[in-house]
């Protein structure tokens, strides 16, 4: 089976091409650095099956971050290369093309975003370009699928031209100059409204208010969509579901199976948050409390990603993020971390140095609550008043800022400056947005449901064997004495390693005051990452840095928890 690797500069649409060729869905967006790992898929051509590999983008074959190293690695394995180039930016893209051709692997060039090139007045003579490069050149529009049958048909024409000899860097640029002079014609284009908006949103004076407005609007939208879904869809569904579980409950009678499936009845009724049965809390928490917010968050994020706004936000936050030992791009992993910490930590790969990646991953794990947990905080704490929710987020924000400042001083290593391409604004394609949101929701369901079930099971088990009381007793000095919480909160912190959303739910039956709940939910974010985040941090940072990060988290939780007790509870 032939290995076909997609290579190209960042943000030229390789992942969209990949989805087109394989039918497999991968996350695509309008900013450089969306793909940080490779994906594999299959494509059948005639009788033969081919393996298609989507690699992260790279500007040259000299890697400058971890994602580009992956790209180079994939290139090494390729039997055939589809070089995806941005037709609106041919000159710069040709640098990588020439480097690929010098490596003597068969290459075919896909000139993507062909429609955009046409609209912006860029004309490329395809025949001449083929003659210059000695490889097939196919214009494509990955979003619409234009040019793909051509691309697939001409795959076997891919070749490694003997005419292209290895060159030095300056020889390459001279060659590119010749080629561009020969094949490309640019008609002058007037500034459009979008150009004006683009510049306004990246200049400090106008950009900062726009950014604050955009973030505020996004936040409002997430809460609005989430609440609407709960009120009009998910809660009514559970009203229909309740008689069914009640019937099951009666049918089961008392016993172990009832305790496991239904849990405890509160005043003879099912309480979806407190009952702790597989069919009650195990279903209600992921579906009725968390899923609506997951849907809301990821649809809003998808629109943000596809417009191309994120790199502008990265530019505006660069100065601030430098104080935290990163640069502006660091805001993108943080943003993704609000959905789920796992992709957030992964996205840190696009940062150049170990120091930056360590700080990004640690800050996400310690102070960026994921949407699953946020949903529970809105749901439970929100019922006592918005002020308590705001208290949690303000504290986490302060933890983020101070941890960033401290880690920047504590961690040795370089923090290079930002160097980021700003893509043009594009109108998000509704179908792409829907598909992407659906992929992420499916991923959530696949990852979350088993862990919630497992969590509910463990909780029942731990209570049954008396482990909870035993553990509570051991940690009582810290939990009760230092944090000012009931000692049963220890179990919630323990379950928090499995699922933080479930852990928040476990706090409700403990009859805490709202301020105690504020302390407990805040600590649930800080003290330790959940198992998924823990695993990905371990993989990305290595065991030594992982231990360092966890030690930092434990210390922070201890200090912040104590401080919150003093300030909020006054004891």
């Amino acid at each position: 089976m032939k290995k076909i690797v997609l290579m190209g500069n960042p943000n030229v649409g390789k992942s969209v091409v990949f989805s087109r060729l394989t039918g497999a869905n991968v996350i695509t967006s309008n900013y450089p650095g969306t793909t940080v790992d490779f994906s594999k898929g299959k494509m059948c051509l005639g009788k033969e099956g081919h393996e298609i590999i989507d690699a992260p983008g790279t500007y040259s074959l000299e890697p400058s971050n971890k994602a580009e190293e992956v790209a180079l690695d994939m290139f090494g394995q390729a039997d055939l290369v589809i070089d995806v180039a941005d037709a609106t930016n041919l000159e710069r893209n040709l640098y990588l093309t020439l480097q690929l051709l010098e490596q003597k692997k068969p290459v075919i060039l896909a000139l993507n975003m062909w429609d955009e090139a046409r609209h912006t007045g860029i004309g490329i003579d395809l025949r001449k370009l083929e003659n210059e490069l000695h490889i097939p050149v196919v214009p494509t529009v990955a979003l619409s699928g234009e040019g793909f049958s051509d691309l697939v048909h001409r795959l076997d024409e891919a070749r490694s031209p003997v005419e292209i000899e290895p060159m030095t860097e300056s020889e390459r640029w001279i060659k590119i100059g010749e080629i561009i002079g020969n094949v490309q014609q640019v008609t002058h284009r007037h500034h459009t409204l979008w150009d004006w908006i683009s510049e306004a949103s990246i200049r400090p004076l106008t950009g900062v208010p726009i950014a604050l407005g955009a973030i505020f609007a996004a936040l409002w939208l997430v809460i609005f969509i989430g609440e609407t879904l709960i009120t009009y869809i998910f809660d009514p569904l559970f009203v229909l579901y309740t008689p069914i579980v009640m019937a099951i409950s009666t049918w089961l009678g008392r016993g172990l199976l009832h305790a496991l499936l239904i849990g405890q009845l509160i005043d003879g009724q099912i309480d979806y948050i407190q009952s702790m049965g597989l069919l009650t809390t195990g279903i209600y928490v992921p579906f009725a409390m968390v899923l609506p917010y997951i849907i809301a968050f990821y649809s809003v994020l998808a629109v943000f990603e596809d417009t191309g706004y994120l790199p502008r936000l990265a530019t505006l936050s660069d100065t601030l993020f430098h104080r935290f030992g990163m640069h502006g791009f660091g805001i993108i992993p943080v943003f993704l971390g609000f959905g789920c910490n796992v992709p957030g930590v992964l996205a840190a790969r696009s940062l150049e140095t170990k120091k930056q990646r360590f700080i990004a991953a640690t800050l996400i794990a310690i102070s960026v609550p994921c949407m699953a947990k946020n949903a529970m905080v809105f749901g439970i704490l929100g019922s006592f008043g918005l002020v308590y929710v705001i208290l949690v987020f303000t504290t986490l924000f302060l933890v983020f800022v101070s941890s960033g400042l401290i880690l920047n001083r504590l961690i040795k290593g370089d923090s290079p400056e930002i160097c980021l391409e700003i893509p043009p604004y594009r109108k998000p394609d509704p179908l792409t947005v829907l598909k992407k949101t659906w992929m992420r929701i499916r991923w959530f369901l696949k990852e979350a449901i088993p862990f919630v079930f497992f969590g509910v099971l463990i909780i029942n088990l731990l209570y049954a064997v008396g482990f909870v009381d035993w553990l509570g007793g051991i940690f009582a000095p810290v939990i009760q004495g230092w944090f000012g919480l009931p000692q049963e909160a220890t179990t919630a912190l323990l379950i928090g390693f499995l699922r933080k959303d479930l852990a928040v739910g476990m706090l409700l039956p403990l009859a805490m005051s709202p301020l105690q709940l504020v302390i407990a939910t805040t600590l649930l974010t800080i003290y330790f990452p959940c198992v998924g985040t823990f695993a990905v941090m371990f993989r990305e940072l290595g065991i030594r840095d992982m231990i360092k990060a966890t030690a930092f988290m434990a210390c922070t939780a201890f200090l912040v928890g104590g401080a919150m007790r003093l300030v909020l509870l006054g004891i």
Binding site: S60, S198, I202, R203, G207, A314, G328, E417, C419, I422
Partner: protein, 77 residues
């Protein structure tokens, strides 16, 4: 007169005359499109020594202040 990109006024058009700094840095700038003889426009300079935003042939890029200081430009008369 030659001057580093950082000392241009916002909105100025200039021609890149040369790049300073290490080989890797120069290479990175060139593959991003920031090359000798290209016309560059300073779109924005962020305060507190923040990054600068430039436009080269209709493409915007954000680069750190120190990096931008290594891009030497000439403003046409």
């Amino acid at each position: 007169m030659e001057q580093p990109l950082t000392s241009l006024e916002t909105g100025t058009l200039a021609v890149i005359s040369r790049l300073e700094g290490g080989h890797r840095f120069q290479n990175k700038m060139r593959v991003l499109g920031i090359r000798e003889q290209k016309t560059i426009r300073l779109v924005a300079k962020h305060p507190f020594d923040g990054p600068v935003v430039v436009d080269v042939e209709g493409r915007e890029m954000t680069i750190g202040r120190r990096m931008a200081g290594h891009i030497i430009t000439a403003v046409p008369e």
